[in-house]
Structures are given as C-alpha cells and as structure tokens.
C-alpha cells in the first residue's frame, strides 16, 4: 500500500542532473504492483527520462484512469500533482487540465483496458484534437486488478491463464493512433529500457499528442505459454524498427554512424531525435508507410517497436483554439470581465 513511506536518504555520491536533482528526487511512493510487473519498469524509465531531461518534477502533471497501470503515477514524480481519475476517462481530464495551463508537461498513463476497452472513445478524440501530451499505454492485454479477464488488445487466439482462448479481434493502438493523426507514435517494450527511455524523452519533448504503446507483461495473469504479451513471447517476436538517440537542444550533435543509417529529426524546440534505422525501408515521416509497415510485420507475427512516426512541426489544441499563453488561473476579473460599462451597452441593445 502506498502509505508505506520510502526513505528519503540516498548515497551522497549519487549523480545530480543539471538542475541539481538526483534520480531519487523523481521517485514516488513504493509500488504496490506485483514483483516483476512490467509497469514498474516503465515507471523507472519515466523517472530516468525526466531526470535526464532536467525537468523540474513539480512542472509535470501526471494523470491516469483506473487499473494497475493507472496506479503507477503514485510511484514516480512524488513532487508532481497527480490525478487518478475515472476508468477510461483520463484523456478528457487531461485535455481540460491542459487547456487550463499550458505551461506544465502533461503525462497521461493508461492501460489497455482503460484505453482500448472502456476508454477507446476518449483515446480517439483526445488524439484527434491534438492535445499536447505524452500518452503512455502500459499494454499487457489483460485486466490485472480484477484478476485476469481479457482486454481489447488481447490477440486473437491468445490463451488466458485459466485456459480460455480469445476469439475477439485485437485493437491495435499504434495503428489507431496513426490513423487518428497522432503526431508522435511509438511502441516500446517494458523489458527494453535502452529503447524505452529515449522514446519517453522524445515524446516529452514533442509538441502534440505523443502516443507510446508499451508492451508490459503481466506477471500474474498474462505471462504464461499461449499468451502473446508474455516476456518470452515479446522478446522472441520483438522487431525493432529503429534505435533512437535523443539529443537535447544544448547537446552537441556528433555524427558517428554511416550515412544512410541515420535520420535526424529536429523538433519544434530544437531538440534532435536521431534514429538509427534497423529496417531500411521504414521512413518515420510517412504516416501511410508507417501504418503499412506495422501491419505488414504484424501479419508475420512480429511486434514492431521503435519510433514509428513523427511530425516534428505538429500543432496542438492550444494553437487551434488560439488561446493566450497565460495559465487561466492567473486571469482575474480585470482580464476576464468585460465590465459594467459594456454591460450597460448590452442591456441597451436588448430593449
């Protein structure tokens, strides 16, 4: 349970980032998830990414729905405001929070049940609207908190722990995000931190909806033979499209790879995403090609991971709505009320 306090003491030699924080400063409460849960690895990757990016923890707002994955925001960034909302509705709450104050970083954490089953509508529309957010789906194909029911991302023919075979078609969140116009789409694997941390960093630095589908095996209910979301299965079938290096604005760009293998993508804030291509025919600037590529590999039983699509010049909801940059809570009656003299004119026009 999360009331167990985590000791704040740490080794004096623990490294600090540019703003003087150690990794420990990005931690949260002690996780209450099962030992070996993929979600805890994702929390660790989020901590690592935020530390490496020198983000002030309190400038992040972390939001989630309901489920095992949605409990995790309590286990990282303890100095951030968090909001554990209702099942499947995190995207709308995040949208509202984002509209209210665009100065913060919005990190949405959800699961496959939360996003693909009950919350598929909100997943769809938040992406369509172009909300500037990192949307991480901790995808294990199963309901953990209610003990092992299939979710909407469970693969056709995959077997539950109780031996039930899934006969429903799976929802592919990556394919869906591509279709919906997400300007950053990636897939990671909780067991591959080397790939995951740069993906999270790149997603945070992206402006627009950044969707990160992270396959995260459930050790309690979906890690057995016959499951297609187990550690063994994903390790065997993981097809990395590329390897990503994230290069922050201030870092020097050093070319150390042969031309043709690299793609540099400069984001709106000047940070650079350097992709080491593992599959020669995948171009991450091409939405249609990305979709075709994912489907083609999927048909072969492969789980494609890496940065699949990015539009570095994407706009977001605030641009569409042309809102003022000031957080709304800083606007008072002076800024918002049209005043008594105007009201007198309105009254006069209504007579």
């Amino acid at each position: 349970m999360t009331y167990i306090a985590k000791p704040k003491l740490h080794h004096p030699t623990l490294a600090c980032n540019a703003i003087g924080f150690t990794r420990r400063d990005y931690e949260g409460k002690i996780s209450t998830l099962c030992a070996g849960c993929g979600h805890d690895s994702i929390s660790a990757a989020i901590i690592q990414a935020c530390w490496e990016l020198d983000i002030e923890p309190h400038r992040v707002a972390k939001l989630s729905g309901i489920g095992c994955s949605s409990k995790t925001p309590d286990y990282f960034l303890g100095q951030s405001h968090g909001f554990n909302t209702v099942h499947g509705r995190m995207p709308s709450v995040l949208t509202g929070a984002n509209l209210a104050n665009r100065e913060l970083i919005y990190l949405g954490v959800s699961g496959d049940g939360d996003s693909a089953s009950i919350g598929i509508g909100q997943f769809v529309h938040a992406i369509r609207r172009g909300v500037n957010m990192v949307y991480i789906v901790e995808n294990n194909g199963v309901y953990g908190l209610t003990k092992g029911q299939f979710s909407a991302t469970a693969d056709l023919g995959s077997k539950s722990k109780k031996g039930v075979v899934n006969t429903d078609s799976p929802l592919d969140l990556v394919g869906l995000a591509l279709q919906l116009g997400a300007s950053f789409v990636a897939r990671g694997f909780s067991g591959d931190k080397k790939q995951l941390v740069p993906l999270i960093k790149a997603a945070i630095k992206h402006r627009g909806p950044a969707v990160l589908d992270v396959i995260s095996p459930c050790v309690a209910f979906n890690n057995h033979p016959g499951s297609t979301k187990s550690y063994d299965y994903v390790r065997e079938h993981n097809e990395a499209a590329n390897r990503l290096d994230f290069i922050d604005v201030r870092d020097e760009i050093v070319v150390d790879y042969a031309a043709g293998e690299l793609i540099d993508i400069t984001q709106h804030d000047g940070s650079v995403l350097r992709l080491r291509k593992l599959h020669a025919n995948h171009d991450p600037h091409d939405r249609v090609a990305a979709l075709a590529y994912v489907h083609e590999r999927q048909a072969k039983g492969e789980v494609v991971t890496g940065l699949l699509y990015v539009d570095a010049e994407a706009e977001d909801l605030h641009r569409h709505l042309n809102t003022v940059p000031t957080p709304f809570h800083r606007l008072g009656a002076k800024e918002l009320s049209p005043g008594a003299a105007t009201l007198a004119k309105i009254n006069a026009a209504l007579r």
């Binding site: 968090g82 949208t95 209210a100 104050n101 909100q122 709505l321 800024e335 918002l336 005043g339 008594a340």
Partner: protein, 613 residues
C-alpha cells in the same frame, strides 16, 4: 357571436412552418409592442425537427406585466395548412382568425363563432416578388404589417426596429419597409379595422430588457470568469454554449495579441464534456458545461468524482421533459432529484434555481464563485421555458469592484513560509479544505488526487475512521454551502393565512399571477420562492408556520417536495403537491384552479366533519 374586445391584454398565436423565416418576423411583432411600453411574453412551441414541420409562437400581451403563459388563444395567425384544423379549434369563441386567403377554403374549414380575417398573402407576394425565397420571407413581414393596422401597433416602432437591425444594409432595410407597407396598405383598404383586440401605448416596460435565459447564462459565465467550456449539443442547452462562444469572440479576445482568453471544446459526448471541466477545474481554471437531463445521466460518475475529490465544477442544466429522450423540445423541472443526489455513493450537490434570464445571469456567475469556494459541483437548474424564450427581465448588473472568489488556494509563498498543507483537512471548521494548483511549488503542496479513500493528507487509506472523517467533513461543507447560496424569497399574503406555497424556477411568473387571482377570490397564501439547495433554515420555518403548504412544480413526482421531506424529515401529508408536467409551461390558471380547489375544500371540510360527528 360576440367578438372578444381587449386592450393590452390578449394572447395571439402564430402557427408557422419550421424553417420559413417566420421566427424573426414574429420576434419583430413582439418587440414592436414592447417598444410601445406594453409587456409581452412570447413562447416558442416547436417539435423536434429542422424544416417543414409545424412550429408555433405564442405572444401574450399584458399591460399588468404577467409574463407567465396564460393559456387560451384570442387571435390565431394560421400560416400552416398542416395544423389548420387544430389551430382553428384552439381559438376562444369570439376570437380572431387571420389567414392566407389566396386559396379558397370550404366553409366547413371555419367556425361560425369566430371572426375570420382573410388576406391573400401568397397572391400579393407572388405578384410583387420574382424570387422564391423573397416571396416566402416577405410574406411574414407582410402579415406583421397587416396585424399592425388591425391591432393598432405603431408602425413607426417597427420601422425603428428595422433601422436598428439593418443598420448599414440599406437595401435590406428598404425591401423590408416595402413589405411592411404592402401589408399595411392591404389591411387599410380591404380589412375591417381596428378589431376588438388593441395595443395601446403604455409605460409598463421600464428599464427591463428582453432576452432569453441561455444567452443570459452565457453572459453570466463570461462576466463570472469562465475560461473553459466543454459541451455536447443537446436541446435545449446548445444555444447556451453557442452564445458563450459568440460573447467570448466579442469580449474575450486580447486586444493586443488577438489571442483568446477562453477555450471552448465541443466534446464527443457529455462524459468527455464533464471530464474536460473536471480537469480544467482541478488545474485552476473556471470551467463549466451545459447540458440537459440525458447529459446529466451520462455525467454521473464524474460528478461523484468531483464531489469526493473536491473539484470546482459548474453545470448548467437546461431541463426538458424526460425520461430518456422524453420531450426534447418541451419544458419541465424534472432533473431536480437527479442533480441533487447525482452519482453513486453518498452524494449531495448544490443546486441554484433561476426564475428568469436575470437570475440566469446572476446565478451562472455566482455558480463559478461557489464552485471555487466550495470545491464541488454546482448545478444551475434552468429549463427550456426560461432558456429558449425571450423574456422581459430586470437588466443585468455587474459591479466593477467585484473580484472572483477563488476560494482556499494555498500559494507558493504560503507554502514557502511553512504553512501546513493538508489537502483534505478541515482547518477552518467550515469543512472546506485548502487546495494547491498543480505546479505551484518545487517541493511542497503536491498531492495525488483520487476518487478512492484517503486521509486528510491525501494519502491513500482504506481505514474506516479516515473515510468517515472525510464524509463527515463533506457534510459540514454542505452545511457551509447553505449559508452561501441565494436565500429564499418570501412573500406574505394580504391577510394572515394558514396556507403557504413553495415554488421555484420558471414557475415564478405564473405563480405571481395565480396568487393575485386567488387573492381576488379572497383566498390568501403566503409564498416562498426557493432559490437554492441545500435549503435555508427559513424553508423549514416557513413550512412549520403553516398548516398546509402547496409545493408547485413542473414534474410528475413532486421532486422538490421529495427533497423537502427527505432533508427536513417533514410529514409528507403537510406538503400538498401541485404538479404540471405536460411539457407546456405551467399557467396561472392551472395553479389558481388547483390550489383554489384545495382551499375551498379546506374551507368546507370542518362543516362536513361536524355533520358526520
């Protein structure tokens, strides 16, 4: 047959075809009478459709200022062949039937106890205009012209209204004036005038304005500082969100940068609407949504979260007939219980009941303050009758010295100075805890918001005492709300009486008139207009001070009565339900008859008892 004669006191009804452009002509008619200083109260009666089906516009002209629906029709402007039979039937004996006589109708289509006034509108239009659209639109203006002659409406007022409406559009102005003249000329030459119904210049309008409740509520949200609006289209609330957009475009765009000091999202459904509002409220914006009954049903889970997680939310519910899709274009007050106890678990919510557009403005702005002060959902319960009809109402008022009440928000400076932050602790004894906006301080004041149980420091806890502490504190907060909401409005009868009546919302104008009618009959009633839930103590005192209290409502089940019984533990027998719920606005005649029957029965009852004894 004796034709009805009445000056400044009659009801005229326009039967039109939806989408024929009649709405603006009818509004012109109503406004011209207003400009003559005579109060009018128009009501749109429209079925759920877009074009080609029937729609009615009923205008009550009343110098005494009764603004409720009267019932009965003294003059019918029958422009829709489809509803002809019913429209003719609805006329009172001695009433006036104005119709388009271009196509002859058999005598069987008329009545012999009414005055029939035929005018070949289509024929005149067809020979004057070549364009089909013009023929249709100017037909409407033409009948307004003819009516102005028949009823004695000053055409100078109509011209003035045209001048205001078509300022800078001389061509439109000229063509409208021409159509008006054509109508007036024909009436002067061919129709017997004046008729028995007359409008006479008076001075009974005063400073009042003429506006619909949805526009008023939208303006209240602009003045009250709402910055985020999320909504989903639903009759009869859609025009509120659209009006908010319109006013924001006019008054909320930064003059220097051209950027918007507002964000409006038409969401994918009501669940997302309330979710966006909850997120924005959590993050410090003043946010609202507007909806109707079915939307409230969909929002229920979030409403419970906002109540328990203590997030400011403003919900404007423009009520209509339910359940389910019910009567989407008809009025009711049938969401009272659904809102008061919305969501799962033990919940209670603050409700505000505006009586007219003036209060729609006031209460919408107030709701935003109350939501921040109480950190909870606040409902403004309007309805279709107020929301979608223009009503004569007191002018809007705003004091430039007024600051928004942002409630208990702990600042970075306070946190830095070492003030203890405990998100769910009752520090001040009013049940209201302190909150922080996300991003306030690097190391203090962050907390995890959740719908699950927690201790006063926002730490997850399933301990019984922690849960009970929190639920009791929420009750205390609700008691604090009682002291902050608008007080009920009492009105004493001319004579001391054992009877009282409680009413709320759009029932007001009909109630005012009913009380006057009952008093003329020697029946006296003290009244109390309830303006909010939780109820003030004075509501219980009012009930205690009377032998019987009528509770007048526009729903089937007596929902406010149920709330009164439940909240005060009152003997239900003491509260007599007077219920009107056919979808039309309640009338003074209905109230006076229903209450009058009870009071007369009460008068004779003791004698009957004696006889039996």
């Amino acid at each position: 047959m004796k034709p009805i004669t009445a000056t400044n006191d009659f009801v005229i009804k326009f039967a039109n075809v939806n989408g024929s452009g009649s709405a603006s002509a009818n509004e012109l008619f109503a406004k011209a009478i207003l400009r003559m200083g005579v109060p009018v109260s128009p009501r749109n009666i429209f079925p759920s459709n877009i074009q080609g089906l029937p729609t009615w516009y009923e205008v009550r002209v009343n110098e005494r200022g009764w603004l409720g629906r009267r019932g009965g029709v003294d003059m019918m402007v029958a422009m829709n062949p489809q509803t002809w039979d019913a429209d003719v039937k609805e006329l009172a004996p001695g009433g006036y039937l104005f119709y388009d006589s271009t196509k002859p109708l058999p005598p069987s289509k008329f009545r012999d106890d009414i005055v029939v006034i035929g005018m070949p509108l289509t024929a005149i239009c067809n020979r004057t205009y070549a364009d089909a659209r013009q023929r249709q639109l100017f037909k409407n203006i033409m009948y307004v012209g003819a009516l102005s002659v028949l009823l004695g409406i000053d055409d100078a007022e109509i011209r003035k209204l045209f001048g205001e409406q078509y300022k800078g559009k001389e061509k439109l102005l000229d063509s409208n004036v021409k159509a008006l003249e054509l109508g007036r000329d024909y009436a002067r030459e061919h129709l017997a005038h004046p008729i028995g119904l007359q409008v006479r210049r008076a001075d009974a309008v005063g400073e009042r304005i003429f506006v619909d409740g949805n526009s008023a509520a939208a303006l209240g949200c602009v003045y009250g500082g709402a910055t985020v609006c999320a909504w989903y289209p639903i009759t009869p609330s859609s025009s509120l969100a659209e009006a908010f957009q319109k006013y924001c475009m006019k008054y909320r765009v930064d003059a220097e940068t051209g950027a918007n000091k507002f964000a409006i999202v038409q969401a994918e459904d009501e669940i997302a609407s309330i979710g966006i509002v909850v997120g924005a409220g959590w993050n410090g914006a003043r946010a609202f949504t507007t909806t109707s009954g079915p939307g409230i049903s969909l929002m229920n889970e979030f409403i419970g979260l906002a109540y328990f997680a203590e997030i400011p939310v403003t919900i404007i519910d423009v009520q209509r007939g339910g359940p389910s899709t019910g009567m989407p274009t008809r009025t009711q007050q049938s969401d009272v219980l659904a809102c008061a106890y919305a969501s799962h678990g033990d919940t209670k919510h603050v409700l505000l009941f505006p009586e007219d557009p003036h209060e729609c403005f006031e209460f919408s702005a107030l709701a935003l303050d109350l939501a921040d002060r109480l950190q909870t959902p606040i409902f403004v319960l309007s309805d279709l009758d107020i929301g979608m009809n223009q009503r004569l109402t007191a002018p809007f008022v705003w004091d430039d010295a007024r600051e928004y009440d942002r409630g208990k928000v702990m600042t970075a400076a306070e946190l830095e100075a070492g003030k203890e932050f405990a998100r769910y602790k009752d520090v001040d004894g009013d049940g209201i805890p302190y909150r922080t906006y996300p991003g306030t301080h690097p190391s203090k004041g962050a907390y995890f918001t959740r719908g699950t149980s927690r201790d006063p420091y926002a730490r997850y806890s399933e301990r019984g005492p922690d849960y009970v502490y929190n639920m009791q504190r929420l009750l205390k907060k609700f008691a604090t709300a009682r002291t902050l909401v608008p007080a009920p409005v009492p009105r004493a009868a001319r004579q001391k009486t054992r009877h009282g009546a409680i009413y709320y919302g759009s029932t007001s104008p009909a109630m005012d008139e009913a009380i006057a009618a009952l008093e003329d009959d020697g029946l006296n009633l003290d009244t109390l207009r309830v303006r909010a839930f939780p109820f003030a103590d004075s509501v219980a005192e009012f009930i205690a001070a009377h032998e019987a209290v009528f509770v007048v409502e526009q729903n089937r089940d007596g929902q406010l009565r149920t709330l009164l019984v439940n909240e005060f533990g009152i003997d239900p027998a003491k509260l007599v339900p007077i219920l009107h719920y056919d979808g039309t606005p309640i009338t003074a005649r209905f109230i006076a008859e229903a209450i009058g029957a009870h009071l007369r029965a009460a008068r004779v009852a003791p004698i009957g008892k004696d006889k039996v004894a």
